[in-house]
């Protein structure tokens, strides 16, 4: 059997041993996932969370989180542990919502809100322009042909348009 194969089995046995000898509080899968889905896997895969990355590093981290939860640690304590170990907050899957990092959370919604306001204002301006132009045309038409009010035609046109999509 190839050496890597043996190494994999050995690593698996160590991790399984750690998990099986762990004692303490009962920990549910959902509790573990709530933490691991907010930690980035440090295997170098990119920015996959521990809950998503299927590598041995992610498995090891999941076991560690499980152990820490059994020991009674809170989520914040566990996140702080990994931030201290890493030396920066890049181990967290999303930046905390404070300070400069608030920008990442707020800017998309702010951008859409501002663009939406601009769009609404522009659309209403265009509509006002069109209404003014149509009122001017109607007035001119009525002056030119008082008996042939454009209103009659407009009403007919509106009714026809209402019948079709």
């Amino acid at each position: 059997m190839r050496p890597r194969f043996v190494l994999f089995v050995a690593l698996y046995l160590v991790l399984a041993g750690v998990a099986s000898t762990a004692q303490g509080q009962n920990v549910t899968r959902e509790q573990v996932k709530a933490i691991t889905s907010n930690l980035v896997c440090l295997c170098g895969c990119g920015n996959k969370t521990v809950s998503v990355c299927g590598c041995s590093t992610a498995d090891a981290t999941t076991r560690e989180v499980e152990q820490m939860l059994r020991e009674g640690k809170t989520a914040d304590q566990i996140f702080a542990h990994y931030v201290n170990a890493r030396g920066d907050i890049s181990v967290l899957a999303a930046p905390p919502k404070k300070g400069f990092n608030l920008l990442v959370w707020v800017l998309p919604f702010l951008g859409i809100f501002v663009a939406g306001i601009f769009l609404v204002a522009k659309a209403r301006h265009w509509q006002a322009d069109t209404d003014k132009r149509e009122a001017t045309l109607t007035a001119e038409s009525a002056r030119a042909n008082p008996s042939d009010s454009a209103d009659v035609y407009r009403e007919r046109l509106t009714k026809e348009l209402e019948k079709i999509d």
């Binding site: 299927g54 930046p95 990092n101 800017l107 998309p108």
Partner: protein, 668 residues
Amino acid sequence: MNDFGFYCLTAALLVSLYAFLVSILAGKKVNPILAQSGENAIISSFVLVALASASLISLLIQSDFNNEYVASYTSLDLPRAYKITAFWGGQTGSLLFWTLILTVFSTIVVFQNQTKNRELMAYVCAVLASVELFFLSVLTFVAPPFATLGAQRPADGSGLNPLLQNYWMVIHPPHLYLGFVGFTVPFAFGLAALISNNLNPVWIKTTRRWTLVAWLFLTAGIFMGAHWAYLELGWGGYWAWDPVENASFMPWLFGTAFLHSVMIQEKKGMLKVWNLVLIVMTFEMCMFGTFLTRSGVVSSVHSFAQSNIGSFFVTFIGLSLAISLYFLFRRLQTRQLDPEQRLTAFFSRESSFLFNNLLFLGIAFAIFWGTVFPIVSEAVRGVKVSVSLPFFNNVTLPLAFALLVLTGVCPLIAWRKASVKNFKRNFLYPLIAGILAIPVVMAWGVRGLVPVAFFCACAFVFATVVWEFWKGARARQAAKLENEQPEPFYHAVYMLATTNKRRYGGFIIHVGVVIVFVGIIASSFFRTEQDFVLKPGETGKLKSYTFTYKSFGQRRQENKDIALARVDLFKNGKKLATMRPEKHFHFKGEQPQTEVDILSQFDEDFYIVLVGWDDADAATFKIYINPMVSWIWFGGFVIALGTLFVMVPNRQRRALARTMRQVERHAA
């Protein structure tokens, strides 16, 4: 063969340079002879790039490890099929593949426009040639595919990344590239229209099918990538907001916004400037995606190795954007891009399309911002941060919901000036369907505001599509009744759809989108997962499934060792299948590869992962029950079908096109 490929590539670079310069001259002087020369050069560059590509593929098949690329991405024990697909498995090969597709598309554009769009073609060829020139320059000076190792030639290559040795990863990159490169064509026409000052909407009509083809391939590529991730990465999911996944999604969002808003320009002569901006940004996003994948600025499982190629892409993106904006502002001042009609009413389909665009671009910006924020944070404050799944899920979810609702609302609003009375009448039945969905989904066991809201929105959108088909077919039947024999309903639906393919094909695509949303919400919110440690003969139970671990075994294939487990799967006492999850240990790989086994059913997938095993034969399995994942793939298929339906012209259009071609040939 290596030297032959190198010389072909170098010649292609020179020919593209010639095509670029002579096409610009042809455009400035309005000289048809120079324009023809430029077009001939475009065709010649295709031949040369094709020969260079054939050389590289030949070297890959022959395992000529004197070539650095061949040595880096293949090995003697790699199956032949994967030796060929290694052509796009590495950095320089994929760039050459991109260039090949670009030259193919450029050649097709030349042949398609031999007798039309002559006032645009010189600058179209100039733009296409400029993009070719960029890629060929990178291939010649920065990332040469024909670099040799000489005395350092190894006896065997490093092999292809085991993750890429999969059917879906074989076809996923070509589809993505076809999509990315396809958007170059409408971009070229749009920029040519700006440069040549021919700003009538002919460029949009000419490139409509190109835009649809590019969008179709990009959509298919994204779904294939998600399917590959589901099969290969072993975490039970299909989308992890990886930077490279985002890099393909952002141009898709811009392209989809463009596809919608060009309808307004075609119908009402509005949004001319906006559509030009959209197609420029779609192209730039395609280039940005390529930059992200190759520069190493953000690390990703998809990324090619970090290289200095990033600065070239940044320069090209900056330059092409600056040139596009320069010509846009110049034409704005001449007022040639003024709308032919104005927005008549705020409550109209035109303005609803604007809000549709706002949401598409808003989602694209949110994804872009989340993807680049780590770079921004490190550059501004020197602080490293990660922006991953929690951010993208939380930010895109409400925006996606708004977009889904708008998908249903927009078709209910009339063009020009919708009447509230008409809107209410059209809105009533779909709204009832959406509300009735609440007790139905809750009876199925769906809980939680978000999933219930999404399922109701899906029901609402589906009901609007059904209502549109029903209304249209009934109106057609009523019209026919006045003059002829009564028309059967199914025939009325068929004729309705085929005489207005764009509208009703669009509705089919919307149905596909609804199906995809149902699959995503169900699989995201209602997945069940659990680990089991079983000895052979032992049985586990999860939901209505029981599974018995039968045996464990190992075997060797040509380039890997395989460990596999056999697990019999039962549901309600009836045997469904024997599941065979595996772990692959590639000789050239570093990490073992997980090969999951999946039983896909209409309502849910049974997904089993072999996590590990010990000497006592106990094995650990991770099992996921993923509801309605197959709906995602089926929805993608419906979207593709709807797009093909839109693209294929109906009989009348085909006859008209034939007649037009005969007239043009006669006139020429």
